[in-house]
């Protein structure tokens, strides 16, 4: 232990006697991504302890879920991760379908993939832009939002809403795509693809950005797993796990036949199916830079998936199928399903007593687990690193507090 | 207002007369005395330090006054460049002195958790 103390560069004691200070970062703070409150124990600029306080956005979604039917709960899932509402809808719908042993039509399956992956892009764009804000650069945020707006336009055309869609629902989707939508979507993808290079230039490979994120908030593989981290946070630590590939049958069946490679560093390199900037020399697996980079790679990966889904959906014959009845009874029993949402693995747990209303509806939030690890990452960092670390976890308070 | 005019008269005298070295010396004296009183009165080590700065500054005023080519009356030889250079050296040494004094203050603060000079009486580090 003693040698460790000598070697650890983060532990610097000055001759000057200093006092520790407790500082509230949030709930009203520009870089806490909503109403999160972090209590920092600082000694000058050095943070010795961070304690997150959550619950400012608690809306009792689980309690509400016990009083309405499974399909009526869909809009409440919208308001969990409101940046990836489609994925939330999908998670809940699949969980109910798992309990009901219901299978959607082939066309609905591909449409779900298409919509979910498109929303993943939108969510990662927000995560990327907001991360730029955390590090003090404004413009990438607006560049990201510019593209996200186009995705939202597509969603608006498909389902009428721009943020809380309730589009994917139990037993399928509420409506089929309007005519001409696929062409617009393809046009968007063609236009969007070269723009990713801009993002890489502004953030990923920017020298200051690398300086601020590389080797900061390093999360070891074991730590990530033990805290139940998931999604890009987990893959950023080098754990090769993606529920789209490793999840339960009902979920992986959705992606059957789709070609994609999990965005994770394996054998010292990221998947080589696309061109991407080189990993900077001072980046360490598990640091903020890698978490960010995984998200950037997933944007490209999702674009691929969207293209594949467009092809498949377009070639699918037959009807989309109707969703189940609003008060369709569920069999007695319980079902738990985790899906790969942009922020991580979102798990829904449903306990049914044989009626259409769940006896217990539980949402296992990915950001909740991802944020729980923050105090481990922030030990001994500088104040400026706190937004960098918390931002790299890409949390959404609506999902954490539910 | 009636008193006003009367009381302004010496001020007017000062306003119309060109300044002399003595004017500067008065200012220097006041700064110097303020510094001395500050050193004597303050219990805060940093306050004492500020007193020292004032004292040195008062001395500087005198040096500059004697060196100034403007202020010399007829037949008086100014200190010329010497005064200015001495003032410069005083400023530089004051900066150095401030650094050392700060170091002492800091080490005192480390050991005693106070900057009250009245408690620096135990003759041990």
């Amino acid at each position: 232990m003693a040698s460790l103390v000598d070697d650890d560069p983060r532990i610097i004691e000055f001759d000057v006697r200093t006092d520790e200070m407790l500082v509230n970062m949030g709930p009203q703070h520009p870089s806490t991504h909503g109403v999160l409150r972090l209590v920092l124990r600082t000694d000058g600029e050095v943070v010795s302890e961070v304690e997150p306080h959550i619950g400012y956005l608690h809306r009792s979604a689980e309690k509400i879920g016990e009083n309405i039917t499974h399909r009526q709960f869909i809009p409440y899932t919208d308001r969990m991760d409101y940046l990836a509402a489609m994925n939330m809808n999908l998670g809940w719908a699949l969980t109910v379908e798992k309990l009901m042993k219901y299978q959607v039509s082939e066309k609905a399956r591909h449409l779900r993939v298409l919509i979910a992956e498109l929303n993943r892009i939108a969510s990662h764009l927000v995560g990327m832009g907001a991360y730029g804000l955390d590090l003090g650069t404004f413009s990438p945020f607006l560049y990201a939002f510019r593209e996200r707006e186009k995705i939202l336009d597509l969603f608006e055309e498909a389902c009428g809403a721009r943020l809380t869609y309730s589009y994917i629902t139990v037993g399928g989707l509420t409506a089929d795509l309007p005519p001409g939508w696929l062409q617009k979507c393809e046009a968007f993808l063609d236009q969007f693809e070269p723009i990713i290079k801009e993002y890489h230039a502004l953030l990923t490979t920017n020298a200051i950005f690398v300086k601020r994120t590389a080797n900061i908030g390093v999360m070891s593989r074991d730590l990530a797993i033990e805290y139940g981290c998931s999604g890009p946070v987990l893959r950023g630590s080098g754990v090769d796990q993606d529920m789209r590939r490793d999840g339960e049958a009902i979920y992986t069946a959705m992606y059957e036949g789709y070609a994609f490679e999990v965005a994770v560093m394996k054998d010292g390199h990221y998947p080589r199916d696309h061109e991407y900037p080189a990993v900077p020399a001072d980046a360490v697996l598990g640091d903020c830079w890698h978490r960010f980079f995984v998200r950037m790679l997933e944007v490209v990966q999702s674009m691929d998936l969207v293209r594949q889904a467009i092809d498949r959906y377009a070639s699918c014959q037959g009807p989309l199928g109707d969703p189940v009845k609003l008060a369709e009874k569920m069999p007695t029993g319980d079902a738990y399903l985790e899906t790969e949402c942009p922020k991580g693995q979102m798990g829904f747990y449903i306990v049914s007593d044989g009626t259409a209303t769940p006896w217990r509806a539980r949402a296992r939030s990915s950001s909740f687990s991802n944020l729980a690890v923050a105090h481990e990452l922030c030990r001994g960092c500088l104040i400026a690193d706190v937004p960098a670390i918390v931002g790299s976890l890409d949390i959404v308070m609506g999902e954490i507090d539910r | 207002m009636e008193v006003g005019v009367a009381s302004m008269v010496p001020v007017i005298g000062l306003l119309t007369q060109p300044v002399s070295v003595a004017h500067y010396l008065v200012v220097g004296a006041i700064l110097f005395v303020c510094g001395i009183v500050c050193m004597a009165m303050k219990r805060n080590a940093l306050g004492v330090l500020m007193g020292i700065e004032l004292v040195l500054n008062g001395a500087n005023v005198n040096f500059v006054a004697f060196a100034s080519p403007y202020l010399q009356g007829e037949g008086v030889r100014s200190l010329g460049l010497d005064g200015q250079v001495i003032a410069l050296f005083v400023i530089l040494l004051a900066a150095a002195e401030a650094a050392v004094a700060l170091a002492i203050t800091l080490s005192f603060y480390n050991n005693h958790a106070t900057v009250d000079v009245d408690r620096a009486d135990d003759l041990k580090g």
Binding site: G55, G228, A335, Y349 | -
Partner: protein
């Protein structure tokens, strides 16, 4: 290693802890004695052939006292059901562990039922247990810092209990 062989090993490692198994449902699960949950989890996380190194979720389901009119229809005795969803990263398999708790400790309303904390097994369990304590009212013995997490510290009651009633007012804010 999966299935019965795994259960055998589990039985051997923590004899008597597993009291039931239900395998023919959508999500198969094993039932564990509540006061031995930490032992079982410790074995599952560290020594078992399939290392469940990640705790995904802890849920408490309140099977409440039904009101007298419905009592005839329901099939359960009043109890709290603790559900642990585990995940093994190396083997990519999941496991559901359940434990039954009384709704109140010693059947005295207001006395929270107790279950050993699994924080020592997975540090990530900390917040999950705090949430279950906050919303469902389960006391985790051995938890390093069991406080409310979503509700304010001075909130009364545990909202996810089925018999929970919204307070009439909270610091002058109308509740109902």
């Amino acid at each position: 290693m999966r299935g019965p062989e795994f259960l055998e090993q589990l039985e051997k490692a923590v004899p008597g802890a597993v009291t039931g198994r239900t395998l023919d449902v959508v999500d198969p699960w094993i039932e564990v004695q509540a006061d031995r949950i930490a032992d079982v989890c410790h074995w599952l996380a560290t020594a078992s052939p399939v290392r469940f190194d990640s705790l995904q979720c802890i849920t408490a389901v309140d099977w409440c006292e039904p009101d007298p009119k419905k009592a005839a229809k329901v099939s359960w005795q009043p109890h709290l059901e603790m559900v642990y969803h585990l995940w093994s990263t190396p083997a990519r398999v999941s496991l559901v562990v359940k434990a039954t708790l009384p709704r109140w400790k010693a059947d005295v309303p207001g006395q929270l039922p107790e279950i050993p904390s699994v924080c020592g097994v997975w540090r990530g369990a900390n917040w999950h247990e705090r949430e279950v304590y906050d919303l469902s009212g389960v006391w985790f013995t051995g938890h390093p810092d069991l406080r409310r997490i979503l509700c304010p510290e001075d909130w009364e009651g545990h909202p996810l209990r089925k018999d929970y009633e919204m307070p009439l007012e909270y610091h002058g804010i109308r509740g109902r």
